[in-house]
């Protein structure tokens, strides 16, 4: 037995996020995390869920100017992940159940601030080795 994590990633369309998450919730999956990766053309989001010892992730890409729906109506505990992603990446997430209005990480400037994990800027992708 190696015990290595089995990498299960299911690609979905952004528009089918809520139905896909709802299907997992109905099947008894619990939320593990929401992951955001900044890519040149926008963001790649992965929503990971667990059932017993298994894990699977739903994956889609969003443009930088695209608003994505919150999943807190289905998984209220996702509010922390979504608030954090908005603070660090500047991603627009609509209707978060407990909206902290960009105040998770006050130190980096909050909603109107630095968005330090984002590679998307008004002038183009962040250069390698950019400021933290």
């Amino acid at each position: 037995m190696t015990g290595k994590e089995v990498q299960v990633i299911e690609e979905i369309e952004a528009g089918s996020l809520l139905p896909a998450v709802d299907a997992l919730r109905s099947a008894g999956w619990r939320i593990i995390q929401v992951l955001c990766v900044s890519i040149v053309e926008g963001y790649e989001l992965s929503y990971s869920f667990g059932l017993d010892l298994d894990m699977k992730s739903l994956r889609f890409r969003a443009r930088a100017d695209e608003a994505i729906p919150s999943i807190t109506s289905l998984y209220p505990a996702a509010f922390l992940y979504e608030n954090e992603i908005r603070d660090l990446f500047g991603l627009r997430i609509e209707r978060i159940g407990a909206d902290w209005m960009g105040r998770v990480y006050d130190v980096v400037g909050g909603e109107a601030g630095a968005k330090p994990f984002s590679k998307v800027t008004m002038t183009g992708p962040r250069s390698e080795g950019g400021a933290i």
């Binding site: 190696t2 995390q33 909206d99 998770v104």
Partner: protein
């Protein structure tokens, strides 16, 4: 709704003397909190009717630093996410990178990782016993548990080289190879600590003053804990048998053990899970030392990581932790992500506070065993 505006509105209600909830700020600096964490507690008389958490006081942006460090060196930064789960953070990062590389580490390295994981779990839970005892005013229990913890940390120093940051996890295995004789001697040296812990367990779980403070306080049901994504002792104390060690990473697949589960879901159940897990950690360490295979402890890691990504999960003292790495094929990874157990337990912690009295809030927070350094990274 902006919770700060909400807070101000409810504050006004409290001051005006009507029946609306009053808002009491709790933290970020508080005698029971070793790290900064803030709550706006909504109180109806002495009862908590709501709590709004606030984090963000010690965010360091360690995840972003992966873009600037060689992927084999970054393990040293991953270890410094937290001073309590340092080895497991380093090991989790290594597991994710090793999966990305398709690398199988030597058997002895897997067994040594298991030994150090359990050593770290024992010292983390003993740290928690002291902090919790201090929170409810049992100073002698606090001192006795930390005395036992010193012996555990001594063994960490002797086998791994560090008391806080073990520094022994590397991509491809481990960097230290304590001899079998050293490991056996260390297990013998831990015997006084194990004897002490059995006595401390009796105090923690049977003393009437402790029970008075913990029993029936901050209870959360099995279903609710699961729905809110709780992990670790928080989830197992509510009756849910979920322990990632059962997936068999490192050498856990070859060392039989029973998961510790309690059912009442209150502060006492969370305390009981941790007390029993300390003894379980010693048992797993004993089995690891007895079955330790011989051979090398690392394999060479050369070249660039391939383009790709991987997830890894471990069972830390506070529960399930997730690591993610993404590579673009250079020596600097593109993304590193940690979802720590305390981050996952915050919604359940807020739920556990509802209906509790103000005086019990510190105890409830402490029985989650929050680690804010982990949470904020």
């Amino acid at each position: 709704m902006n919770h700060r505006e909400d807070t101000r509105r409810d504050d006004t209600h409290g001051e005006s003397g009507d029946n609306g909830p009053s808002v009491i700020p709790f933290g970020p600096q508080h005698p029971v909190l070793p790290e900064p964490l803030h709550f706006d507690l909504y109180l109806q008389d002495e009862k908590v009717v709501g709590a709004v958490p606030q984090i963000g006081y010690i965010h360091r942006g360690l995840e972003l630093l992966v873009e600037k460090r060689d992927y084999t060196d970054y393990v040293h930064i991953a270890e410094r996410i937290c001073g309590i789960c340092s080895f497991m953070h380093g090991m989790g990062y290594c597991e994710a990178v090793e999966t990305l590389l398709g690398l199988a580490i030597p058997d002895r390295a897997r067994w040594l990782r298991t030994f150090w994981c359990e050593l770290e779990r024992a010292h983390s839970h003993l740290l928690w016993v002291g902090l919790a005892a201090d929170a409810f005013g049992f100073e002698s229990l606090f001192m006795a548990s930390w005395r036992a913890r010193e012996l555990v940390i001594d063994v960490a120093e002797e086998t791994a080289g560090g008391r806080v940051i073990f520094g022994s996890a590397i991509v491809g295995g481990v960097s230290r190879d304590p001899s079998d004789e050293t490991l056996r001697r260390c297990m013998k040296a831990l015997k006084p600590a194990r004897d002490d812990i059995r006595k401390l367990s009796r105090v923690m779980l049977q003393d009437s003053t402790v029970r008075h403070r913990l029993e029936g306080v901050g209870a959360i049901s099995k279903e609710r804990a699961y729905e809110l994504g709780a992990v670790g002792p928080m989830l197992r104390a509510s009756g849910y048998d979920y322990d990632l060690r059962k997936r068999g990473y490192a050498a856990y697949g070859e060392i039989p053990f029973e998961t510790v589960v309690e059912t009442s879901g209150d502060c006492m159940a969370r305390a009981a899970v941790r007390m029993r897990e300390i003894e379980l950690s010693f048992e797993i360490m004993e089995k690891a030392v007895a079955g330790m295979p011989s051979g090398p402890v690392s394999v060479p890691v050369k070249g660039m990581p391939p383009v790709g990504e991987s997830f890894a999960r471990l069972e830390q003292p506070r529960g399930e932790v997730l690591y993610y790495v993404k590579s673009k094929g250079s020596r600097n990874l593109e993304r590193f992500r940690v979802r720590t157990p305390t981050f996952a337990n915050i919604p359940a912690m807020v739920e556990a506070m509802r209906g509790a009295s103000l005086a019990d809030v510190p105890t409830i927070i402490l029985t989650i065993d929050p680690c804010i350094s982990c949470t904020e990274r």
